[in-house]
Symmetry: C2
Amino acid sequence: MDHTTVSPASTAGLTLTSALRNAVSRWGNRTFLRIDGTDVTFAEFDEGVGRLAAGLRARCGVGRGDRVAVFLRNSLLCEHTWFAANRLGATWVPINTEFRGLGLETAVRLADARVFFVDADLRAPLEESLARCGSDATVVVNGAAAALQAEDLYLDEPVPPVEVSGSDLSALLYTSGTTGRSKACMLSHRYFVSQAAIAVQDFGLTADDVLYCPFPLFHADATALTTVPALLLGATGAIGRRFSASRFWQEVRDTGATVFDFMGATLSILWKADPRPDDADNSVRLAWGVPVPEWAPEFERRFGLTIVELYGSVEASIPITQRWDQPRVPGSCGRVTSGFEVRIADENDHEVPAGEVGELLVRAKSPDLMFSGYHCDPAATVAATRNLWFHSGDLARVDEDGNFYFVGRKKEAIRRRGENISAFEVEEGIRQHAAVLDCAAFGVPSDLTEEEIKIAVVLKEGHDASAEEIWQFSLDTMARFQVPRYVEIVAALPVTPTGKIEKFRLRESPFTASTMEFEPPRVAVS
Amino acid sequence: MDHTTVSPASTAGLTLTSALRNAVSRWGNRTFLRIDGTDVTFAEFDEGVGRLAAGLRARCGVGRGDRVAVFLRNSLLCEHTWFAANRLGATWVPINTEFRGLGLETAVRLADARVFFVDADLRAPLEESLARCGSDATVVVNGAAAALQAEDLYLDEPVPPVEVSGSDLSALLYTSGTTGRSKACMLSHRYFVSQAAIAVQDFGLTADDVLYCPFPLFHADATALTTVPALLLGATGAIGRRFSASRFWQEVRDTGATVFDFMGATLSILWKADPRPDDADNSVRLAWGVPVPEWAPEFERRFGLTIVELYGSVEASIPITQRWDQPRVPGSCGRVTSGFEVRIADENDHEVPAGEVGELLVRAKSPDLMFSGYHCDPAATVAATRNLWFHSGDLARVDEDGNFYFVGRKKEAIRRRGENISAFEVEEGIRQHAAVLDCAAFGVPSDLTEEEIKIAVVLKEGHDASAEEIWQFSLDTMARFQVPRYVEIVAALPVTPTGKIEKFRLRESPFTASTMEFEPPRVAVS
C-alpha cells in the first residue's frame, strides 16, 4: 500500500483504532516502530496496547471521554499510552517535557486527566504541579520503583477496542506557544488519519519507507506525520529519543531511514557541519519540513536526497504542500492540498489580490480535517475562527499559479515607521553570512519610531564575527529597511523543544550589556 | 435603482452610514419611511439622525464602540436611534419589548449599554432590570416628561458620521429564543447591507416599491429586509406599529404597500378570514416569508399577489431564497443564494446524499455576510460553529436540483420509538382541518417509548371541533407515525413577539385537565 492507494478520501472511514486493527490483520509481522533501540511489529504493538488498556481500565478506571496525560520522553511506552487511551474511548494528552513551573501547572490543569504517566526523573515537577492544581489523578511512574509503575498496568489479557467515530477526540496537543501561553488543540481521529494520508499522497510515501523522526511525541511530526503514515502504509516509523546534530546521520544509518523531517534550525545545523566525503552515502531519499532555505538545492546534492516543503500547524493540519512529484517552486511552501481551502486576506478577512501579503486563512472541505477547537478555551477558539475561517496568524502571499509563500508570523512582524517588516525575511538575510549559524529578528521599543529591529545572532562553532561585521554585511546585502539597529551575538537562542525560537523571551530583555547599537543607514531624500 | 443594479457584489463597499449618505445625495426628497402616520424623506431622516447623534454624543458621551440600547416599540425615534448610534461608531441594541423579569434582566445585562431609550409606559420594568443589574446607564424616556426626554437629545447641529468599515458592528439582535434563552447576535454593517441586497435581487424589489412590515424593529424583517432595502433602492419602508389581522389590509391600502412580509401564523390568519369581494383589490404584488403553506396558490389568486419563500435566521442571514423570477417548487424554501454555501449534514457534519434529512449548515463565501458570533458568549458561538460551519439547528433536505426543503427544528423533533418525527410536518397535517387556525406539535414524556406526540390546537373563530374530531382527522389523513396520542384545544398558543411559538412553554405543562388521550393506532404486524 502506498501513495497510490492511501489518500484522504480512501481513509475517510478510518479511526486510529480501526487503522491499527487493519494493519495487524494485513501486516501483523512487519516492523511498525523502531524505537527504544528495538523493532516492534504491528501485532506486538497491538498486543502491548491492548494489555496496557486493560490495566488503565482495571486499575485506573479509564473509560470513554476520560483523558490520559503523559509527561514522557519518546519511548514505546509513550506510543502505547496514546493507542491504549484511544482504545478505551479516552483522549491522550502528551505534555511538553520541557514545561516547568507555571507553564507545566497550566498544562496539567488544562489536561484535567484521570491518569498521568511520568518518566521517573520528571516526577518531582509533575507532582508539584498536580499538588498545586489540587489534582487527585493517579500517577504512573516509568523507569523506577513506585506505588504504581507503568509495567504494572500491562495485564495479561488485552481488552478489545470500544467503538469510536472519526469525530471523537484522539489527542490534545499543546500549541508550541512561541507567541504566548500554550493552548490545547482538540484533535480527532479523523484529523490524524487525514493528515497522515495527505503526507503519504503528497510526499509519495510507500510501504518500504522508514520514516525517521527525532522530535518529541507531543508534537504533530512524530505522531500525525510519522507514526500514523507508517500505520496506514504498513511502513516503519523510527522514533528517535531526541534530535542531536552530532548523532543525526549515524541514527539515520542505524535505523535505515529513507525519509526524515526537519524543523527550525535542523537543516541549517546539518548544512553548516563540516562536509565529509560520505555525506551522500545514506539511505535517505526524501526530507520534508520547514523552513526550506535558499541553499536547498546544494543541500540536496550534498546529501543525495530531495527536500519537500509544506505549510502546516497543529490547528490547520497541512493545507499546503509541495507535492513530491512536481517541480519545486523556489521560496514557495507549495499549493493547496486536497480537502482544503486557503485564502490570503486583509485585516477584515477580505481576499487580497495575488502577490499581496495578507494573513493566511484556512478551511477544510469536510469535517474533522482540522483541529476541533482549543480545549476549554472557547474565547480563543472564537478569536481564531472569525468569519468561519481559521486564522493562522501567519503572513503569506500567493502567486497567479497558486503557489504560496510564507512571509512571517503576523505577531512577529516588526512595526517601524508605519511599515510591517517581516522578521522572517530579516533572518533569512542575516543567515547568508558564512559565520552565522542561526539568528532571530524582533522588534524592540524605539523613542523615534514604533519599533526598531534587533537581531540576536548565534555563530557557527569555530567561526568568529563581530556585531559590526554582521551589521555591515546586512547593510551591504539587504534592503535598507531590513538593516537592524541593534545586533547582539549570543551563545544560543531560547527555543521550544520543537526547535521554534521563543521570541517573547528575547523581547523580555531587549537591551543587554552586549547589545550593540548602530547608526541607521541614511536614506537619500531627493 | 432596482434589482438589476443592487446586488451583494455592487454593495460590497457600503456601510449603513455611507448608504444613507448616498441615498440623501441621490434621492433626498423621496419618501424613505412611512411611519408614525407620517412620511419622512431621506434628507429629513438624515437630519434627524444627525441631530440625535449630536445629543447622544454631547449629553450621553456616546462614542465608538459604545452600545445604545432601546426598549421601544416601532417608531421613527426607534429608527433614528439605530442610525444615530451607528453614526457615532456605536452599536444599536433593540430589546424585545415583550421581555419582562429575568428575560429582560438578562438582555439588559448583555446589552451593557451606555444609554437606554424607553417608551414611557415601559419605563418601570426597564428601570427595575437596570437596578437589578447595578447599571448606571443613562435612561432616555420617549413620550412623557422625564429627567432626560428623547426630544432633548435632538440638538440643532447634526454631527457628521465617523468612519466605519463593513466589519464594524451595526447592531446586536437577540435570537427569538424559541428553544431557550435569547442570545445577542453581533451583526455588522456588511451583514445588513448584504442581506438587504439579496432581498432586492432575489425578490426583484425596485425603487417604486413600498415595503410594508408590521413586525418589530428588534428583528431582521423590519430592519435588514425592509428599512435597508428601501435605503439601497431609494424606495419606501412602511413600518407598522404592530401586526393586526383586522387592520392588516386597511394598513396595506393606507400605506400603498406593494410588498409585505409574513411569519409564523400571519398568512394562515389572513387566509382563514372570511373572503370578501374586494380581497384582490389591493396594491400588493409580492409577499415573502415563512412558512409558505400548501394552499399558497389559492392565497395568491384570492389576494392577487405572488408569494416568495426563503430560509433564514438572524445568525445565517438569508442563504436560501426562491427567486421571484423563477417558478416556485412546491414545498421548497428555495435554492442557495449568491455568496453562500449550504450543506445538509449528519450528526458528525458529513454531507448526506440528496433527499436525506440532516441538519442545515451554512457558510458565507465572503466575510461579514453572517453574524459575527454571540455577544459575550464564545461558548455558544463555538457550539454553533463546529467544523467552521454555522449549525442552524434546522432539519432539512435538498433534492437533486438544489431545491431545499425545511423539515423542522432539530431540537423540536419528537423522538418516538427510535425515530425522529418532524413537529413541522405534524402541524402541517393538522392545519389542513377546516376548523384549525393554528397548532403546535411537541413531544411529551412517555412511559412506553421516548416521547409521544401531543398537539395543541387553536380553532378558527366561529368554528367548532372536538379533540376527537381533530384526532380522527389526523388518523384519516396523516401518516400513522404522525398521529398524536394527545390532543388539546387551546384558546391561544404562547408566541414570541415575532409570532414564533414558544414550545418550551407548552412542554412545561404537558398534561392538563383538558388534554385528551387517544388510543394509538394499531400498526398491522404481518
